[in-house]
Symmetry: none
Subunit: 220 residues, 4 copies
């Protein structure tokens, strides 16, 4: 009896390592890369799904097998960046034993990432000379929250003075993004200079901050 033939009728699923899966993964990357370029060229607002498809050898329908809209593509790009850098940032802070290590480690990692991943950062801030846009996606925002939690932990451990962790996080994020923006515009994109500047500013400033006694860091 021909088992192959009998089984073939309701076949469960083709091997997930076949050529098909490879093509699928490649197509997804093709779209993401095309979108990155188009966003950088036209700006997020002016980009249409058509533009992205045109920058691709794929058929229009194929786009919709992977993403629902340009928003979804954009988020995928952002999230990819955020997912790559978040663990590094967290790890850097986790192994810090001093305020200096915590702050400089955070800034250095961020600025080096931005300098090395320039095309992504351009997408991140789709800035022409006349209009600057910054979009933070859920994954990015989650990274902000992680920073805050790390700060709360560092305060609890006594590494940081008991300051407003929420505002401090905001200040670090603000300095990081704005300096990155300026750095990216300079002919010499030097992460070390930016890191030195930001670290000095924050370290000098932190000890001058007003202290608070929020419930979670109050003395027993």
């Amino acid at each position: 009896m021909d088992i192959e033939l009998i089984k073939s009728a309701p076949r469960p699923a083709p091997k997930p390592t076949g050529k098909r899966e490879l093509t699928k993964a490649q197509n997804r990357l093709t779209i993401l890369e095309a979108a990155r370029q188009v966003f950088a060229e036209l700006g997020y607002g002016a980009t249409t799904v058509r533009d992205i498809i045109r920058a691709t050898p794929l058929a229009s329908g194929t786009f919709y097998n992977y993403f629902q809209s340009k928003e979804e593509v954009f988020q995928a790009i952002q999230d990819e960046s955020a997912l790559r850098i978040r663990p590094r940032l967290h790890e850097e802070r986790a192994k810090a034993s001093t305020v200096e290590e915590f702050i400089s480690g955070t800034f250095r990692t961020f600025f080096e990432f931005v300098a090395g991943d320039h095309s992504n950062f351009r997408t991140l801030r789709m800035n022409t000379d006349t209009l600057r846009v910054r979009m933070d996606t859920p994954e990015t925002i989650a990274g902000f929250e992680e920073l805050r939690e790390d700060l709360v932990g560092a305060i609890a451990k006594g590494m940081f003075p008991p300051v407003d962790a929420d505002f401090l996080m905001a200040a670090i994020v603000g300095v990081a993004f704005e300096l990155a923006e300026r750095m990216a515009r300079r002919e010499l994109r030097d992460p070390a200079t930016a890191t030195a500047f930001a670290t000095a500013l924050l370290l000098g400033g932190i000890h001058a901050l007003p202290t608070v006694t929020p419930p979670d860091i109050a003395a027993p």
Copy 2:
């Protein structure tokens, strides 16, 4: 009566209190206010001119008597904000005789403006829980440049140490916008707390910054 004359746009001295002028000004404001609301609700990217017109009792054609596109409306909104706050910020810094006055004056003015002009700030940063957007228009960016120039001037006067004015401007802007964002989310929108935090951070940090001797502030 000469109708042609009345219709002619650049009439030498049209009575600014005439009913026609009032209507014209009102229509402009009607559109601007409608746009503010629609931008805040849908976000800039998703908003169409149609949406703005729909939020108005006016006809679609009337829109084009006042603005050419949604971009122009958006800029008008932004510029209105920026134009109102920029002179105040500049004046505050002009009359400062110490670093402390320069910094605290800048932050206080900004945070008080944001706290009092909440709806405009919402338009400026169309933030849901899952996606945060910030757009800087030319007028806003011009305000950044003005800050930098004021910093350069203050450094030249010896008020500030000779630091990287470009990065310092970026840091101030970053801290200001991110803290404003956090402040806006708190149930108690207290500009004083934000001002105290930001001022302490910057004052403490500035003196720790690496000094530079850029051409424009170098000794003769």
Copy 3:
């Protein structure tokens, strides 16, 4: 003072009898007539909005100023027919003093309408040789309900025997539509023959029907 000019700013509404209104009404009819022809030619299912627009000198966007979809156009066509014939049918039955007048008046009016309004009826039943479709829109169904109510009234007046008015209405509707269909297929579309047949069938049959005593026609 020029009142005309002052008032002109927030003008309430242009005279509804202007050229604009005329064009609007004409465009609506243009679309309806084009749709009628396309439905008759391609059948309802195969027709697309594009097809209707193509059969029109109008721009694609114009269609959507009048209708949302082909379904809406279809309903407008149907309702137009129903609205034209319903009052006639009702009036015919209202002035009937015998069962014979009630029944023959109903059928005659219907068959004459169908014979005279052939293109609408073809749309009504978009029948090829291999697939027959009949769609009843709300207005049509309301006409069925009206017939039932007229029957209930006639029963209450003693004109009809106390039969199941719901089933009788259904029977009349079924005979009317199916005979109309057959009539429409004959080379000689003669409403009189159809009327005679249907009237004889119903008159002969009604007195043989089982009688019922529903609450609303029960003896006091």
Copy 4:
């Protein structure tokens, strides 16, 4: 083993109980049942092949091993119904020796079928409260023709008076479908009541009909 042979479609005598055949039959039924539900839910016009496939555990390509289009699926569903009831209707009429048996047998068989096969009838007439659709497929129409031929035969035998067989067929069909529709809407779906009503109406009416002498039933 000769694979070619196995794949060849018109194999003389494939074992009808083999596992392959079972799977094939099952897939066909799976599609048909899914289509029935989707048609009933979305209506025929709004249903796409995608919708049917989605309601199935099968792959899209598999669909085309069984049907070419939704039209073909729809016809298969209809034909299934028609093929089941047509022989019964014909047999009922064939064994009738009186008009009463002919008519009551036809209606009873039809109404009992509808009452017992409710889901198919729903597909046949996709009726919401606001839009009612009836579609007759070739097989259904063939059933109408068969009724007409049976009527012609009965007239030739002298069982029926010499009436217009075409119109009489139409009347029977119209009464049958409309009453079935009303019956299906009642809480008590009682075929006996519908049969009694329809039979009484037709029997009473037939003898009142105008007689004709069409060529085919004319005396020699």
